[in-house]
């Protein structure tokens, strides 16, 4: 999918303005992809396999530059040797002019192109965000965790950690949507045995699918939110769960078999999986008594919400959170598509306020989570004004704007100053977005 099929590559480049020509990268590269003349050090795109071995030893950071380029017009060694500075990233229009179809570009970006590095996936997502014109939901979003969040461990396993990955054993794999649909979603439980892998609700992990892509390179890791609370899917055990939807078509509806999701959904009990992470240090839940949590999600975006809900449920007997509200806005195409529909129904009403929106129920008008939020404005407005209320949004990128606009309308109609509310949501780390 993505990168290899449509000829788009993530080209590795060295910034000649920052590079000091120390030769460390060339000496480090295990496959001779880096060369130099008296002027510049450059990377040969035909040889570089993105192994990242050159990145940590570079003293300047100049080595860590990447551009989305159609393979046919990738920068040659000769042209790079003449540079005094890096060229700008090609615009979508320029890429299209070079023969890259726009939806190929989108899917390549969403897939994080072909770089085997979780950080670079994040970079690409950031680029996408900045490219979105008009309303910028992320301007309201928090960069930090709530003040009462527990301290997360991150990047314990990965390319920059002493251990590059950890093996987990599959101890559960169950379908959590109704049977008989084209799309199915699985609840997968991974056990880490005696190996340390401490996580918090809201964090994610990376799964490294086995095998290689069409170009013979190792697959890059795919990120999944953790669906279980900090003390394990099964309390007291060193395991966690994921909510994985089998991907059979891309965002545009064209057939594509997702590499990692199909691998995960087909796993058998006892299989081992290569994992990196944990990731995420801001999408974390508050832990102080009287903190309210408003959760807004679609599809598998429910994973972190399930984790937070379950942690609060386990703590419920402690009595600490008696006045802390949980509110859930959960959208799916139909009731059959909605993960965990059954278990959700059995949660007590006085514990969590559940609102379900279905956009494709036959004979019913289409309903989205933001419609339900507007319908519940009377309950949401006081929470927007309450510094103890925290909002979490997880799901497809497209929902982000609608949700934040709904919050804005609710605040204004209640006579609140939106700029003040928005400021508090960001500054007090009360609004957290995780979309893909």
């Amino acid at each position: 999918m993505g990168a290899s099929d449509n000829g788009l590559i993530r080209q590795h480049l060295i910034d000649p303005e920052i590079c000091i020509r120390c030769n460390t990268c060339e000496a480090t590269c295990p496959i001779g992809a880096i060369t130099h003349d008296s002027r510049n050090y450059v990377v040969n795109a035909d040889i570089c396999n993105h192994c990242m071995a050159c990145v940590p030893p570079c003293p300047t950071g100049s080595i860590d530059n990447w551009r989305n380029m159609p393979r046919s017009i990738a920068y040659s060694v000769d042209s790079q040797l003449t540079w005094d500075s890096l060229p700008a990233e090609l615009s979508t229009q320029e890429l299209e002019a070079a023969g890259v179809a726009s939806n190929d570009l989108a899917s390549a970006q969403a897939a994080g192109a072909d770089v085997a590095h979780a950080r670079l996936i994040a970079d690409t997502l950031a680029t996408q965000q900045s490219e979105q014109p008009g309303f910028d939901a992320s301007a309201v979003a928090a960069m930090m965790p709530p003040w009462s969040a527990a301290h997360p461990y991150t990047n314990l396993y990965g390319p920059r950690a002493p251990e590059t990955s950890i093996k987990a054993t599959v101890v559960g794999n169950a379908r959590v949507t109704a049977v008989g649909r084209d799309y199915d979603t699985h609840h997968i439980v991974l056990d880490f045995g005696g190996m340390p892998f401490p996580v918090l609700e809201g964090q994610s992990i990376g799964i490294v699918p086995p095998g290689v892509d069409a170009l013979g390179r190792a697959h890059h890791p795919r990120q999944y939110s953790i669906a279980s609370p900090r003390n394990g899917e099964r309390p007291g055990y060193n395991n966690l769960s994921l909510t994985v939807k089998r991907v059979l078509e891309d965002h545009q509806g064209r057939p594509v078999r997702g590499v990692a999701s199909n691998y995960l959904c087909d796993l058998q009990l006892g299989d081992t999986v290569e994992v990196i992470g944990p990731f995420g240090a801001s999408f974390l839940m508050p832990n102080h008594p009287k903190s309210h949590v408003v959760m807004i999600c679609t599809g598998t975006g429910s994973a972190p919400m399930r984790a937070m809900t379950e942690w609060r449920r386990r703590l419920r007997r402690s009595g600490k959170f008696e006045s802390g509200k949980l509110m859930l806005f959960f959208g799916a195409r139909t009731q059959e598509d909605l993960p965990y529909f059954g278990p959700l129904q059995s949660l007590p009403r006085d514990f969590i306020d559940i609102n379900l929106a279905f956009s494709r129920t036959p004979t019913q008008p289409r309903q989205y989570v933001q419609d339900l939020m507007r319908a519940r404005a009377a309950d949401l407005a006081p929470l927007l004004a309450d510094r103890n209320a925290y909002f979490y949004v997880c799901g497809l990128k497209a929902m982000e704007e609608g949700v934040v606009l709904a919050l804005q309308d609710i605040a204004r109609e209640a006579g609140l100053d939106w700029s003040e509310v928005a400021n508090s949501l960001r500054r007090d780390a009360r609004l957290h977005l995780e979309t893909y």
Partner: protein, 475 residues
């Protein structure tokens, strides 16, 4: 074995635990080293938490681990690059023979001398720089200084390991002496003169790390070719660390230039007095510092004709820069090289046997390499639209070693009389006035993200951290 064993007192990847004699010797040296660090390491900084990189293995993924560390707790240890299987000697009289895993008796004295001379520069530079932390222009720069310092300390460990492991009692005594000499001390100075000069201010520090640490790079590169395999593997790993030191120098000077050019364009002036009044370092002063550090550093390569250099090469102790990439016969017998001499008030070129001129060969390679960076500094000036170019001075300028020591030469290569030299030296080398001015700028800026007025912030932080990251916690 590339993983470093941190459960041991001395982190290492050389199976130290299996060599009890060596382990005991190094464990006795370790407290003396720490005492030296306490006495002569960065002044008043022992309790700071510094965002340092530490090696956990010598492979690419493991050698740059970042975290907040108190400097005395830094895991100094012994790291050698992976051994190359069946490595052969690739230059000199022993070309084609197996590389030595032990020291041949006939080369013992020379190798010891090479290792001691290299080892002596490492603690010397820490001593030279120990007061700079008190006048740092930012937390970012302070962190870089400390990183340079702890790695110089580790380079001393690397050399002391070789001395202890391969030179017996003599080696242990040399190891102690490395901790006893002091930079600039009259009765027990460091071996090389450039390492007895003070590093009084941050401009000197950046120039030093650009020019003098680059000498280190060239010496290490030449030693990385050595037939004595443990020396080659040790110096190869040191080179990876050395790159950061040159980065500190090159980017430091570049940021000073950037700030000066910005001020020149703001104030629309190139008058040094007005620029000094605005608190930035004028470009002519930068040129004089450059002249000084360049000329002092090229002296470090030694005499232009040296029978020692010939011996070191032919016997396989020390190769040329990038020996493996050269395509000649790697023996050099009967070949010639042109060196510069002074005769009757004129500079003349003379042909001498190449083997005897190997110091000069290495010096010329060094000059080519250091000019490249000066050209990159010029691009910063050019970008600002200012018609001024920095230039490395002539090779014969301000030399105190070799055949050029007796002659006075201007930066553009004209032989001048003693009287003319005396009249113009303040245009060519930093004057007392220049040094006093630069010293007057040296305040202490330690608020995260803030920078002294005379230097621009860097383009990016360390290890992708933001520029205003808290690189040092003062506790």
């Amino acid at each position: 074995m590339s993983t470093i064993n941190y459960s041991e007192k001395i982190p290492n990847n050389v199976n130290l635990a299996e060599d009890r004699t060596l382990q005991r010797a190094l464990e006795q040296w370790q407290p003396n080293y720490l005492r030296w660090w306490d006495d002569m390491g960065p002044d008043g900084s022992q309790n700071f938490d510094v965002y340092l990189r530490t090696a956990v293995s010598v492979d690419p993924q493991g050698w740059a681990q970042f975290g907040a560390v108190k400097m005395p707790d830094y895991r100094w240890g012994i790291f050698l690059n992976q051994a190359e299987q069946d490595r052969k000697i690739h230059f000199g009289d022993h070309l084609g023979e197996d590389a030595w895993q032990d020291v041949p008796g006939e080369h013992r004295a020379n190798l010891r001398r090479i290792i001691v001379t290299q080892g002596d520069t490492e603690p010397a530079s820490v001593e030279q720089q120990r007061h700079l932390g008190l006048t740092c222009p930012s937390q970012y720069d302070l962190r870089n200084l400390f990183q340079v310092n702890v790695e110089e300390g580790r380079h001393l460990w690397a050399m002391v390991y070789l001395l202890h492991k391969y030179f017996g009692r003599d080696g242990r005594e040399e190891g102690e002496a490395l901790l006893e000499r002091r930079s600039g001390q009259q009765d027990n100075p460091r071996i090389l003169q450039a390492f007895n000069e003070p590093t009084p201010d941050w401009l000197s520090f950046f120039m030093f790390t650009y020019f003098t640490d680059r000498d280190g790079k060239f010496q290490l590169c030449a030693l990385a070719e050595s037939s004595f395999d443990p020396l080659a593997r040790t110096t190869k790993f040191m080179l990876t660390e050395e790159a950061h030191h040159m980065f500190v120098g090159e980017s430091g000077v570049s940021r000073i230039i950037q700030r000066t050019c910005a001020a020149m364009n703001e104030l629309r002036t190139d008058d040094p007095q007005k620029l000094r009044a605005a608190g930035v370092i004028d470009l002519p002063t930068l040129q004089r510092y450059l002249n000084f550090h360049f000329s002092v550093t090229i002296d470090l390569f030694g005499s232009d004709e040296s029978s020692n250099a010939a011996t070191f090469y032919s016997s396989g102790l020390k190769g040329r820069f990038e020996e493996g990439k050269r395509t000649d016969d790697h023996r050099l017998k009967g070949q010639v090289y042109r060196v510069l001499n002074a005769k009757d008030g004129q500079l003349i070129e003379r042909e001498v046997p190449m083997l005897n001129a190997l110091n000069e060969v290495l010096r010329d390679d060094y000059i080519r390499d250091s000019i490249g960076g000066v050209e990159r500094w010029n691009r910063v000036i050019e970008k600002a639209g200012i018609p001024f170019r920095l230039k490395t001075p002539h090779k014969a300028f301000h030399r105190n070693i070799g055949a050029l020591a007796g002659v006075k030469v201007s930066p553009d290569g004209q032989v001048v009389s003693d009287a003319e030299w005396a009249a113009r030296v303040d245009q060519w080398l930093p004057s007392v006035n220049d040094r006093a001015f630069v010293a007057s700028l040296m305040g202490r800026v330690v608020e995260p993200g803030k920078f002294a007025n005379w230097i621009a912030p860097p383009v990016m932080g360390i290890n992708r951290q933001p520029v205003d990251f808290e690189y040092v916690r003062f506790n």
